[in-house]
């Protein structure tokens, strides 16, 4: 081997240096190309969200988007600077300082460029539920008879929280049983659960409508809660079973050797081990309940039962294209809880492997 390496070692050093430099340059160009490609490809996703947020705080009864473009002119370079700072400074302390300065500059620039245009008039529906002055009352439309926005917000919150509580409780219990207990028909049950997991529940909306009708749960939020919960269950049970499978048997065994019953071992020893799993399925369940549209549209009728998705839908239907101000403000109110929750819990959600696919 050594004599094979000899000619290489004998090669002039500057030749190697040139090769290394060339390869570094190529890597740099590749990275720049990737950044450029992803930035351009992501613009169609980012710009509409920016539109939503800027218009909610700046629109004055029209459809003017000047504020959006000015904000983009500030935020675009700021993001670019952010990426470059992250690359060029390695020391954490200096990086933090540099980022702080960048943040201050960005905020100051935004304040100068769009600050004077901002106002809160589009949010008047929050304190004045009778905001019909802003809505044209069409001959066919739902007109100005909107329920108080807080009723819809409260309904959405109740729906999402109830779905979360039921999904987390039921799937944790079931996941533990499926992971730890042998019972006749276990393999069959797991296999059929797998079919249900892949099975598209949306196809069942017609019979579900009838079941609700016969059970007297039509036009009741409880009905929607039960349906949405059940459709989330197969997925949640599998996730929880996966988390329980990963808990070592030994800790349960030793708890039981120490005299705990099976149920005590579950409650006090195993459950704390799977809290991130419960958190993850809880967040998914909350977002699912919060965003539902098809089932609430089909199963709820009375205005007092409206949730945010219906509220936004009808507000948008009434004034779309005429006055984006109120529509975008309602949109921000609706999307913000989901985005905040998602942003702060993202690291738990993306850690979850979509279990069981062959590697």
């Amino acid at each position: 081997m050594a004599d094979v390496a000899l000619p290489a070692a004998a090669a002039p050093a500057d030749h190697w240096a040139a090769m290394a430099a060339r390869s570094r340059r190529r890597r740099q160009w590749t990275t720049i190309f990737l950044y450029g490609f992803l930035a351009v490809a992501s613009l169609p996703v980012i710009v509409p969200y920016l539109w939503l947020f800027t218009l909610a705080f700046s629109a004055r009864g029209g459809t003017d988007t000047a504020v959006l473009w000015r904000a983009l002119l500030v935020l675009g370079p700021a993001l670019l600077a952010f990426a470059m700072l992250g690359h060029s400074i390695d020391e954490p302390r200096r990086l933090r300082h540099a980022l702080l300065v960048l943040l201050l500059v960005t905020v100051a620039a935004l304040a100068v460029v769009i600050g004077p245009q901002l106002h809160l008039a589009n949010w008047r529906f929050l304190w004045n539920p009778d905001f019909s002055d802003a809505l044209k009352t069409g001959p066919t439309g739902v007109g100005s008879q909107f329920p108080n926005v807080w009723v819809a917000f409260g309904n959405s919150l109740a729906l999402a929280l109830a779905v979360t509580a039921i999904v987390v409780t039921v799937s944790t219990l079931a996941g533990y049983y499926l992971s730890r207990f042998a019972f006749p028909g276990r393999a069959g049950f797991l296999k059929s659960l797998l079919v249900l997991h892949a099975f598209p529940a949306m196809t069942l909306i017609i019979p579900i409508f009838f079941l609700m009708h016969w059970a007297g749960l039509l036009d009741s939020i409880l009905g929607v809660v039960l349906v949405v919960c059940t459709l989330e269950l197969p997925f949640a049970i599998f996730i929880m079973k996966g988390f329980f499978d990963a808990v070592p048997w030994d800790i349960e065994m030793s708890a039981m050797t120490d005299g705990a019953s099976r149920r005590q071992a579950f409650l006090h020893v195993v459950l704390p081990q799977v809290k991130f799993g419960m958190l993850a399925i809880g967040i998914f369940a909350f977002l699912r309940g919060w965003e539902d549209y098809v089932f609430v549209r089909t199963l709820l009728i009375d205005k007092q039962n409206w949730v945010m998705s219906l509220y936004l839908f009808y507000v948008a239907e009434d004034v779309m294209g005429v006055d984006y101000g109120i529509v975008t403000a309602v949109g921000v109110l609706y999307v913000l809880p989901a985005l905040v929750l998602y942003t702060f819990t993202q690291k738990y959600l993306t850690q979850m492997t979509v279990g069981g696919i062959k590697g």
């Binding site: 590749t30 950044y35 992803l38 992501s42 996703v45 509409p48 969200y49 939503l52 459809t63 988007t65 992250g86 039921v170 219990l173 079931a174 049983y177 207990f181 042998a182 019972f183 797991l190 797998l194 079919v195 892949a198 099975f199 598209p200 949306m202 196809t203 069942l204 909306i205 017609i206 019979p207 579900i208 409508f209 009838f210 079941l211 039960l226 349906v227 059940t230 459709l231 269950l233 048997w249 349960e252 065994m253 039981m256 099976r262 149920r263 549209y293 098809v294 089909t298 998705s309 936004l312 948008a316 779309m320 949109g331 609706y334 999307v335 989901a338 993306t350 979509v354 069981g356 696919i357």
Partner: protein, 305 residues
């Protein structure tokens, strides 16, 4: 193994009820029962008054021979599912996974978070954003962009409705493939990349000979899973084009929904939905092939209840 005593068996049953009972009840009531109800309704004449008067096979006959609209709807569905699946849910998802894993981790995570935004926002909000983007007035996003190049405003909703629903659904669909493929690419042992590089492989050769073979299973899983979910989900089409103009973007699942809830032909809708149920079960069974059954069915090790 000992024979369980009767008190042990009682305990066993109590545990079954306690742990699995709630899930069993919910799944039976809202997952299994609807399938049976759907089959039953499909063979009645249930109409707007929600009262069936007798059994009939009329709906199935109509579905198989008498619905002139159905052929067009099926063609629309095929175009929609194939285009979205190939271009976005697998194609662009793969591009996103490859590019975001090839750059520094934090930047990659940022771009993935951006592409998850559409999935995390409620459907009505997402549709609202599209409503502005394609607005035929000069203030719409696309028309402002066209105006930069001196082009006249374009009415997507009426002139290119299929492109619109494919892109709108694709932006959402790409993220699931992106997430699964990203973790699949991350799971590839680093030494394979080093070995390929030492052997003189360039970036594209690494993709072709190291990454693609390693993500074959996840990629086929995504293809089947996403084909199924595209086939049955109509939420975004319903919100963005409402199946129009005329029937141009009415896919099968939306057609089923409209027949039942807008025309009041519940029985016919249920019969149409049977088609989806059959496809759904078939695809779900197909997805089994991608699952690691041995770890799923691993036997429990403690027999105490």
């Amino acid at each position: 193994m000992m024979m369980p005593s009767s008190s042990q068996r009682r305990r066993q049953q109590a545990n079954l009820v306690l742990f699995l009972g709630p899930a069993l009840v919910l799944l039976a009531l809202f997952f299994v029962a609807p399938v049976i109800v759907d089959i039953a309704i499909a063979f009645t004449d249930m109409g707007r008054n929600l009262k069936p008067t007798g059994f009939t096979t009329e709906n199935v006959e109509r579905m198989l021979t008498g619905d002139r609209r159905l052929g067009g709807v099926l063609a629309t569905t095929a175009i929609y599912v194939l285009a979205t699946l190939l271009v976005f849910n697998t194609g662009f998802a793969l591009v996103l996974a490859l590019t975001t894993t090839a750059m520094p981790p934090r930047a990659g995570a940022f771009f993935r978070a951006v592409w998850l935004l559409p999935r995390m926002s409620p459907s009505v909000v997402y549709a609202l954003l599209w409503g502005w983007a394609i607005s035929p007035t000069p203030s719409g996003l696309i028309n402002q962009f066209l105006a930069l190049f001196g082009l006249p405003p374009f009415d997507f909703q009426n002139q290119a409705p299929m492109t619109l629903v494919v892109v709108a659904n694709g932006f959402i669909g790409a993220s699931m493939g992106m997430i699964i493929l990203t973790s699949a690419i991350r799971a590839i042992p680093q030494h394979l990349f080093h070995a390929a590089r030492v052997d003189g492989a360039g970036g594209l050769a690494v993709v072709r000979h190291v990454i693609l073979p390693a993500i074959r299973w996840p990629l086929s899983f995504i293809t089947v899973y996403q084909a199924l979910s595209l086939l049955v989900s109509f939420e975004y089409i319903w919100l963005i084009t409402d199946g129009g103009p005329f029937y141009d973007t009415t896919v099968y699942s939306l057609y089923v929904y409209k027949r039942a809830f807008e025309n009041g032909q519940y029985a016919y809708g249920a019969a149409l939905a049977l088609g989806l149920v059959v496809i759904g079960i078939a695809a779900a069974l197909l997805l089994w092939r991608f699952m690691d059954m041995r770890s799923l069915l691993q036997r429990p090790r403690i027999e105490v209840h």
